[in-house]
């Protein structure tokens, strides 16, 4: 144990002597979270709208006003024909065209239903989808206000004059659902996931690079000719990196709370316990990478190749239920997936220990398994 103490002292000495490490530790969580959380959102703000109001009634103006008042839309252009609206889409001066046919108010009063047409530039399909969803939501609210059924006919077209969106396309029932509030929660939902991803990158990469650096420098051999056992060596390597990752998590949680206002409904102790267990697996992956590579460059490459698969199969960016069966099986043994689940459940829903106990068990087991495999690989290396 004396040897462990000296090795630990040496590790900390080296870590804090490296100015890049200290800087990275603080900067990575802050910068990454801010950049990723803002980039990974589909929120649409102030979409420019071309208004073709052929009805010119109180109710048609009301519809336009509601859209503009939401802050999501700006009525930047207006004209008397949809053809001009198409042109505007083509020129990309607007993102959508709102066409209100003549007789809109009359139909509303007489038949208690009216039609509006939305044309949008769907070059960016995701943005168009969100824009459309906002518009429908706002119009549905307006319809509810008027105590009538207002049915917008929605046409999603590309900004191409030879394929003008036809009028009278299928009618879509507007139903107000929680999905439309997703935007509000979106970052609350994404930030914990991004934080897990960050922790994974820091944990695996730092570990792999740190150990491979000793290989490159020949100091690993030098240490192997001392009475220091491999268990002690690995413990001395992993413990400081584990602590560093926990610090990154703390900084990340602080940013999440105070920059993104992510709710922290549940116990942070539970989050830290999950992270503590999860990091064993993450560091184990880094250790394994270090055993199969000889240079930092190789380690970097192998590590990122593994991380890509690992991240994509975690359910962070794509729902696991959309994956083929075999991928779902893989995703279910992916500790990252379970840690993300735990983070979201505890932070957003305020889940307690009984709720996330299964996740904690999976994390603990995967940590032990990954570390055992890596240690075994590490021992084999000598021959």
């Amino acid at each position: 144990m004396r040897a462990l103490r000296f090795l630990l002292r040496k590790e900390f000495l080296q870590l804090f002597r490296d100015p890049a490490i200290v800087r990275l530790l603080v900067m990575i969580p802050i910068v990454q979270l801010i950049v990723l959380a803002n980039a990974a959102t589909f929120e649409v703000k102030r979409a420019r709208m071309h208004v073709v109001d052929l009805d010119r009634s109180t109710m048609s103006r009301g519809a336009v006003d509601r859209l503009v008042a939401s802050g999501r839309f700006v009525a930047s252009e207006a004209s008397g024909s949809t053809a001009q609206g198409d042109d505007a889409l083509m020129r990309r001066t607007v993102e959508l065209v709102l066409a209100i046919p003549a007789g809109f108010e009359r139909d509303l009063v007489r038949d208690r239903r009216g039609e509006v047409q939305l044309l949008m530039n769907a070059e960016d399909g995701a943005a168009a989808g969100v824009t459309q969803a906002y518009a429908r939501q706002i119009l549905a609210a307006y319809a509810a206000e008027l105590q009538v059924r207002l049915v917008p006919a929605v046409a999603v077209g590309r900004a191409r004059p030879e394929a003008p969106p036809a009028r009278g396309v299928p009618r879509v029932e507007v139903r107000s659902r929680g999905w439309y509030n997703a935007e509000l929660d979106y970052r609350h939902y994404m930030v914990p996931g991004i934080l897990v991803q960050l922790l994974t990158i820091v944990g695996t990469l730092l570990t792999a690079l740190n150990i491979v650096r000793e290989k490159e420098a020949g100091t690993l051999d030098q240490l192997n000719v001392t009475p220091v056992s491999r268990g002690v060596f690995i413990t001395a390597k992993l413990l400081p990196l584990w602590l560093i990752a926990m610090v990154v998590l703390s900084i990340g949680l602080t940013v999440a709370r105070f920059v993104f206002g992510v709710p922290m409904e549940g116990s942070l102790v539970l989050v830290c316990a999950g992270a503590a267990l999860y990091l064993v697996a993450a560091l184990g992956i880094g250790l394994w990478v270090s055993t199969v590579t000889e240079t930092q460059q190789q380690a970097m490459f192998v590590n990122f190749s593994i991380l890509m698969v690992y991240l994509l199969m975690s359910g962070l960016f794509t729902p696991v239920s959309a994956m083929p069966h075999w991928a779902q099986v893989v995703a279910n043994v992916n500790p990252m997936r379970h840690f993300i689940t735990l983070m979201r459940a505890v932070l957003l829903k305020g889940a307690g220990l009984p709720d996330v106990a299964p996740q904690l068990v999976v994390l603990a087991v995967s940590g032990v398994v990954v570390l055992a495999v890596a240690m075994r690989q590490y021992h084999k290396r000598a021959d």
Binding site: R2, A3, F6, L7, K10, L13, Q14, R17, D18, A217, G218, T219, D221, Q222, L223, N224, V225, T226, P227, V228, A382, D383
Partner: protein
């Protein structure tokens, strides 16, 4: 020795009492490359033992097996009476190893490196200070400098200090002077002499013949095989033919002339001079010199000089390598 062959047929391995290193029939391959092949030798207590040979001779592989970093495929090796495969922990705390490449922490200072390596052996810098003092004192003025910023000679002294600080019973030095200037090299070997006099067994490898001459015994290694083991002088005297130093200009013409001489056995350049071996072992030296000078003069080299010399270790080594390749 009667035959011109210098490679001794498999002589029985003589193991001195309490030999700190005994190697029997060691073999190690890396893929198709045979790094070590049937290597056997024993080192006597307190001996300065040299492994001499060109790069790729298997010296580093041998060191890595003896320091428990590699496992041999066949054969056995014991260090301080302990088997390198079975009893590696008994060996690791008692040997000092200095790899061929600088292998200390470049981001730690001189003193931090030294203290660290002392501590992992369960000792302290103070406890080992008197042993390393002759070496460490020379780099002590730079003890706060990072090891990566040291010059080659200083790095090497630091590495030796780190290998010695836990008072090992045997020291393994893999090409300790490669890439070091001539003065530092000489100083380094003076230090090794001092350590040997204090009773420490040292196994050192080197590609330099002048350094080999400072060992008590050397094993000549080439392509994973030991060609000969003996004291440096004795190895020199194994040379099977009369040897002459020849000097003359132009040099390349002289080499060609000597090689064309009917009784020439070998002609090797050695610095400024050429070493000429005559195939006739009983011919008087004076007569050979006279014939040689007459021969080269007849080929247009008027300024030539020749004299009989005692063969050195390098002469034998070159002859051995030629035989081994044949």
């Amino acid at each position: 020795m009667s035959a011109p062959a210098v490679i001794a047929p498999d002589a029985p391995l003589v193991v001195p009492d309490g030999a700190p290193v005994v190697v029997r029939g060691l073999r190690k391959t890396f893929g198709a490359t045979v790094a070590l092949d049937a290597v056997s030798f024993a080192v006597a207590p307190g001996e300065l033992f040299g492994l001499v040979g060109p790069d790729g001779g298997g010296k580093t592989t041998l060191f890595r097996i003896l320091t428990t970093l590699l496992v041999p495929e066949a054969g056995t090796a014991t260090v301080l009476g302990r088997d390198v495969v079975q009893d590696l922990w008994g060996i690791r705390s008692r040997v000092g190893y200095m790899p061929g490449r600088f292998s200390l922490y470049p981001d730690l200072s001189v003193e931090e490196n030294l203290r660290f390596f002392a501590s992992v052996f369960g000792t302290t810098l103070a406890a080992g200070y008197d042993l390393i003092a002759p070496i460490y004192r020379q780099i002590e003025p730079f003890k706060d400098r990072r090891a990566g910023a040291l010059s080659g000679g200083m790095k090497q002294k630091l590495a030796l200090s780190c290998a010695l600080v836990h008072r090992p019973e045997i020291l393994f030095l893999d090409e300790p002077t490669t890439g070091v200037d001539a003065v530092s090299r000489r100083e380094f070997w003076d230090l090794l002499d001092e350590l040997r006099r204090s009773g420490l067994t040292i196994v050192v490898s080197t590609p330099y013949m002048d350094e080999a001459a400072r060992c008590q015994r050397v094993a000549l290694m080439q392509k994973g095989r030991v060609l000969a083991i003996d004291a440096p002088d004795a190895i020199g005297s194994r040379y099977p033919r009369p040897l002459f130093a020849v000097h003359g200009l132009p040099r390349h013409a002289l080499i060609e002339a000597l090689r064309a001489f009917p009784h020439a056995a070998s002609v090797q350049p050695f610095g400024d001079t050429l070493h000429y071996a005559d195939a006739r072992s009983t011919h008087p030296a004076d007569a050979v010199v006279a014939e040689l000078l007459a021969w080269v003069r007849g080929r247009g080299i008027t300024e030539a000089w020749a004299a009989p010399i005692a063969p050195g270790i390098e002469d034998t080594f070159i002859a051995l390598m030629g035989e081994a390749a044949a």
